[in-house]
Subunit: 406 residues, 2 copies
């Protein structure tokens, strides 16, 4: 008899009927003998509706109160799921994040989990109950309620699985698993049976929306196997776990990621001297703008071009912050682009096997797609291309790396 933590997302518990559907799935699983802890998100659009309500009473709702307000969404869904389970004859108990022992820091809206005290969950499990936990939330030492921000309920589930020593964490969502590419773009995309944490992180950071990086990182740190599958079907999903020996033998490209939310800023003619990067990126960090890829070309006559990307929504604000700095340091121009997108090939071991980059560039070239910028990590190669060419690029790369064959 294993202990398993499951998580159901907002679309899976969007209304009473879907909650009852989830309850039937959970009850069936329980009857197979596993001990279950079930983490739930808020119903459907509840969180957005609560945010809208807050903005009706205040132009800038205070972070502490907003977190307390938003936390009610998951409390509602976890109590309803516990009730639905009991109506099926399954003993169950609903716990808030605080009751489940999720202790966080005080960073409202994006709190980090500092500790998990699973003693109450354990005692309910020992009584034979299914424990239903409100995701996305925790409590500070001062007894204030916090929310965990993006990917919050996934993070709750993985953190509980780690603290409880669960056999695995199962994330049920509205997709059937991790694919070699977005199936809406490449119909021949193949669902992966398993993928390493590292590869999953690269896919997630490059635009695959299935799971937030944060929960994957936590799973990796605590070696929690994470199974991603659909709550609407019984099709097998994808297991995110440590890359084993056998993975060395496989096709080293696991998948193609793409991300159209890219704004590019190029600072031309930057004097190549110490402190320049700090001068440019300092104001962006202070303004809370996340900078993604950064590329600095080799210096020619002590002048260089510095290029970086930000979320498209941040592009104008970022450019406005960079321009005065650029003038001050004597750069010749600041250019912005908002018609670009990233495509990436991701796979462990690519770096130790030559030829992957060349194959990628050739595939894009043969499809007539211009490469605007290239960056690589140990397990990823990313090209910036015209946003309008993303579907062709994904399909060309999927074929070039023979991903449909597994």
């Amino acid at each position: 008899m294993a202990l398993v933590v499951q998580k159901y997302g907002g679309t899976s518990v969007a209304d009473a009927e879907r909650i009852k559907h989830v309850a039937r799935r959970v009850a069936a699983r329980r009857r197979q003998g596993d001990d279950l802890v079930v983490v739930v998100s808020a119903m459907g659009d509840t969180t957005d509706e609560l945010i809208a309500l807050a903005h009706q009473v205040s132009p800038e709702p205070e972070a502490r109160e907003l977190d307390l307000l938003l936390s009610t969404g998951e409390v509602v869904s976890c109590t309803l799921l516990a009730m639905a389970l009991k109506a099926l004859g399954q003993p169950a108990v609903a716990l808030t994040g605080a009751q489940a022992g999720i202790g966080t820091d005080r960073r409202y809206g994006r709190a980090r989990i500092l500790r998990v005290d699973p003693s109450r969950i354990r005692s309910h499990l020992a009584e034979g109950r299914i424990v239903v936990v409100a995701g996305f939330q925790g409590i500070t030492e001062e007894m204030d309620i916090t929310t965990l921000g993006r990917g919050g309920s996934d993070t709750t589930a993985v953190a509980l699985a780690a603290a409880l020593g669960a056999e695995r964490c199962e994330i049920y969502t509205d997709v059937e698993g991790i694919y070699t590419a977005d199936p809406r773009i490449e119909p021949r995309a193949r669902k992966l049976e398993r993928i390493s944490y590292e590869e999953m992180l690269e896919l997630a950071s490059q635009g695959a929306r299935v799971m937030h990086s944060r929960a994957v990182e936590l799973g990796w740190a605590y070696k929690v196997p994470i199974y991603v599958a659909s709550s609407f079907s019984d099709a097998p999903g994808t297991l995110i776990c440590e890359g084993g020996e056998e993975m060395e033998q496989r096709n080293r490209v696991m998948g193609i990621a793409h991300d159209s939310d890219v704004g590019r800023i190029t600072v031309r003619g930057v004097p190549d001297r110490p402190g320049i990067a700090a001068a440019i990126f300092g104001p962006l960090a202070e303004a809370g703008i996340s900078v993604d890829t950064i590329v600095q070309n080799a210096s020619v006559e002590r002048l260089t071009d510095l290029t970086f990307t930000v979320s498209r929504a941040d592009l104008k604000r970022a450019a406005a912050l960079v321009e005065p700095v650029a003038r001050e340091i004597g750069a010749s121009a600041v250019l912005t682009d908002d018609h670009l997108a990233k495509v990436s090939v991701v796979g462990a071991g690519m770096q130790s096997a030559p030829g992957y980059a060349a194959r990628m560039f050739r595939a894009l070239y043969e499809a007539g797609i211009n490469i605007e910028l290239i960056t690589t990590s140990e397990i990823r190669i990313t090209c910036l291309i015209d946003a309008g060419r993303v579907p062709e690029a994904v399909r060309a790369l999927h074929q070039a790396f023979e991903l449909e064959q597994g």
Copy 2:
């Protein structure tokens, strides 16, 4: 500078606009210098909607989970009011019942407050904040969330006022105060400037719906002056407080109450011997049926008639419980009536001044209204009459006791 606890009911915070209206009232009051703790109910019909949602997933929602679910309603309204106050430039903080220090027993759905730890509220007040508290809820020693049942938010407000030693507790609602009779029935009904706890309790228990007896009892026990007024107007309300010397001089009838939610059961020919009352009322108590008035006539040939009233909704169930007992003890018949109502005259000192009962009976007689049953307390005389005659009875009594004149 006084400390005042205010409470706003569900209709007063029914939507974002009304919450902003309440925020403006609270902020204006704060600017006059008082320290404020503000207790709120859930927005409008939220509680009913949450109960309906629970019944969609379960025919019989578990009490513990239902309380946790319902508690979210007041958390939503208290965070929104705190945000609206901050938007007006007033420092404010929202607290759940647990954060406000409301400790209760484990009787889910009708928990009793065992203790109040006001230390967190005090420290926020010392920081110059308005403290907004979610009403109707508390927390057990085991960290489970409870709700206080009917009159819960009023009870929260009075309990906090008592624990904080507040100057008074102000209950803002959709009526303007306590009247000498229901103004919908008697247009000449007069709003009372003040009334004693005891008189308010008699009015409340006899059908005046403004405040629940429970909160009045608590206010009486801790000598908390309770001011009842409208959140929609600036008209002066009614102060519920201890009856002072000057009250002896006044008209001793304070008001006329009426209650049409009356079901009467009469057990005929009951043998007059010990243990009979326990045999009849025991099963009703076990079934959770509240018995109101009980009257037992003087015994004639060792047989008596026992009459009592229950809520009309409980009448059939109560009769079904009483019938087997009546057979067993040899009573001759069980009769039920569901066409009756109570009218009462309430006023401190009536008992020590003769003639009030006679004046009441004469007024009803002159209006041609038959009296089915009479009971009295120290400060109340109640007659059971035909439910269809209630408006006439209220108007006749209002005039007989010259209540329009104050």
